[in-house]
């Protein structure tokens, strides 16, 4: 099935020493190869961009150690004996560490458009979904790396280095960052200027973060805030992450109930599994929209 130079020689024309390259038909293998290279490019670029790796760690570290330490003297009055405020916000900070990196990874698609490289990808004989999936996987991997760096600091927030806990949290970080990158890529399909993209994501990211329960328990809140927090998609990933962390701490049940309250809808407790499934579904939905957006031809 190969379509190559060899078969298509024009009679009477002499090719000198060109290497015979026969390019195969498109198919799943070609698409997988494309997914792989688009993914790897994200990693190569991340590795060469150490500044970005460092700067994107600044914000979570600030929240955890500066805000966390600063507020802990005040918060200690409301916290059960022996519990550090840093431990409480730790899962939220983990979510935050991937939040920014994942969205900025998606921003690279806007950069790619501005610098023309997107065109190189879009004219290739592979399906557009391969490119979008590769991009989302790349963003997810890079963002999860950032999360793992914060995960390495667990001891400083009095969270035990438990392999099972780490595996669960890394899995949740991957899920979160994939969904966020898919969201970013979907936006990047429509927003052509990097400034507009940055402004819009900034505007969205902060409310998402503040409403997610990353910094305070989602219990006993005024009605309007309760509704808003339940509408925030980020809530449904911070909840399982905090649940995982607190189930690996040895605390009196009252303390756990206070700091890691179960998520409720009108009094009904949302199971952790459902919460995760919702995030996964959202990720798949956003990915589909992103692929459809990039499918369009002029």
């Amino acid at each position: 099935m190969a379509i190559g130079v060899t078969e298509q020689q024009q009679p009477g024309r002499q090719v000198t020493d060109a290497i015979r390259v026969s390019v195969p038909d498109s198919g799943l293998r070609q698409d997988l190869r494309a997914v792989n290279i688009v993914w790897r490019r994200e990693l190569i670029r991340f590795r060469s961009d150490r500044l970005r790796a460092v700067t994107s760690l600044v914000q979570p570290v600030l929240f955890l150690f500066v805000l966390g330490t600063g507020l802990s003297s005040l918060a200690s009055h409301g916290l059960p004996q022996g519990i550090d405020f840093k431990t409480f916000i730790y899962p939220g900070v983990l979510a935050m560490s991937v939040l920014f990196t994942a969205i900025f990874s998606a921003a690279s698609i806007v950069w790619d458009r501005e610098f023309g490289f997107l065109r190189e990808m879009l004219v290739a004989p592979v399906s557009r979904s391969a490119i979008v999936i590769g991009k989302c996987l790349g963003g997810a991997t890079v963002a999860t790396f950032q999360g793992i760096v914060i995960l390495a600091l667990a001891g400083l927030a009095h969270v035990p280095y438990d392999p099972v806990l780490f595996l669960i949290v890394i899995g949740e970080l991957l899920l979160l960052s994939f969904t966020l990158t898919a969201f970013g890529v979907m936006m990047a399909a429509r927003i052509k200027q990097i400034q507009a993209f940055m402004a819009l994501t900034q505007m969205l990211v902060m409310p998402l973060f503040f409403l997610s329960g990353a910094l305070y328990p989602l219990r006993g809140l005024p009605g309007w805030l309760t509704v808003l927090t339940r509408l925030d998609p980020l809530t449904y990933i911070v909840y399982p992450m905090r649940y995982a962390v607190f189930s690996h701490l040895t605390l009196p049940s009252q303390a756990t109930e206070l700091l890691s309250p179960s998520l409720t809808w009108f009094g009904w407790t949302v199971p952790v599994g459902l919460s995760l499934a919702m995030v996964a579904l959202m990720g798949a939905g956003l990915l589909t929209i992103a692929i459809l957006e990039f499918q369009k031809t002029e």
């Binding site: 024309r13 026969s22 390019v23 195969p24 190869r33 190189e120 004989p125 031809t297």
Partner: protein, 327 residues
């Protein structure tokens, strides 16, 4: 004649009210260097976009390397190489990484990749710089890397959209050396657009597109011959008398231009000796110029490139109205 490698017929592309391409047709033979000339906004970029499967035609057909650009998009894509006027390299990657990325997207078999990569990089003289980040390349080097990349998967047609735009004259001519050189090494057809008339001389054949229509298509020599006349400039002791005599005795329409008496005449070299006997004014200097492609463009479009751009919109609108009445 062999089967054409590019076959376009009745191609139309409409963007809303504006008809950018208004029913063009042409063929390009294998191994040709085919130049597509025209002012900005004449339909040049739209046509190349359709041929590269980046835009769908409104009507008409286009076949590239034997495949329909609309129905067999991916097959067309595998058989063409593209160099756009704006760079499409990742400047954070090295030259080699850019090529590897391309090879994976186009499915170049891994066993052939290393020798082929070396071959195309050596062809454009970048083998030694392959491990440097593209950000450190000069404008000419980037363009050369893009040409190498476009050739990596051994396409049958290489599309060069304004390959030398934005480069200094020296780099421009060196890019042309590479282009002409690759023709001797690869079994390839080159389709290029340019608005530099002097560069079009490098093409085997050219098409001039204006207001979405092809107004002329032939070899540069034939096109120049078709407008026939040479441009003769003389300076004399009495220019006004000379102009009058040129009109009276030779029936030529002469005028002052650039401080010289200027007129167009067939076979200028053979006409000049007759001048010395025919003019009473003393002739101080003579120059005869063959028509250039600039003259060809002027002759076929009746305008300079700038004038042509200014009125493109009006004409398109007029045409759309006529088209509607016709229906």
């Amino acid at each position: 004649m062999t089967e054409p490698v590019i076959l376009v017929s009745d191609l139309v592309k409409r963007y809303g009210e504006v008809e950018a391409v208004r029913g063009i047709g042409f063929e390009v033979q294998p191994g040709e260097t085919f130049g597509f000339l025209g002012p900005n906004g004449a339909g040049k970029s739209t046509t190349i976009k359709i041929l590269c499967t980046l835009a769908d035609p409104t009507s008409g057909t286009a076949r590239v390397a034997g495949y329909d650009v609309r129905k067999q998009r991916d097959t067309v894509r595998r058989n063409i190489g593209l160099v756009f006027q704006d760079t499409t390299l990742d400047s954070y990657l090295t030259g080699e990484q850019n090529l590897r990325f391309h090879a994976d997207l186009y499915g170049v078999p891994k066993a052939q990749l290393a020798p082929r990569m070396r071959q195309v990089l050596e062809m454009v003289n970048l083998w030694d710089r392959r491990t440097a980040e593209v950000a450190t390349y000069s404008g000419g080097m980037k363009r050369r890397l893009e040409i190498a990349r476009g050739l990596l998967h051994a396409p049958r047609v290489l599309f060069l959209d304004e390959p030398t735009v934005g480069l200094d004259p020296q780099t421009r001519s060196s890019i042309w050396e590479y282009i002409n050189d690759l023709k001797t090494r690869e079994d390839i057809t080159i389709f290029l657009t340019t608005h530099y008339m002097d560069e079009a001389e490098n093409c085997d054949r050219i098409a001039i597109i204006d207001h979405g229509k092809i107004v002329a298509i032939d070899t540069p020599e034939n096109l120049k011959a078709s407008i026939g006349k040479d441009r003769v400039q003389i300076s004399t002791s009495d220019d006004q008398a000379a102009i009058a005599e040129l009109t009276d005795r030779f029936g030529l329409d002469a005028a002052m231009s650039e401080g010289m008496v200027t007129f167009n005449v067939e076979n200028g070299e053979h006409f000049v000796p007759r001048l010395f006997g025919g003019l009473t004014a003393q002739i101080r200097s003579v120059s005869v110029a063959r028509p250039t492609l600039d003259d060809v463009f002027m002759s076929y479009t009746g305008k300079t490139i700038r004038d042509a751009e200014a009125t493109a919109g009006d004409r398109n609108r007029a045409h759309v109205m006529a088209f509607r009445r016709g229906r």
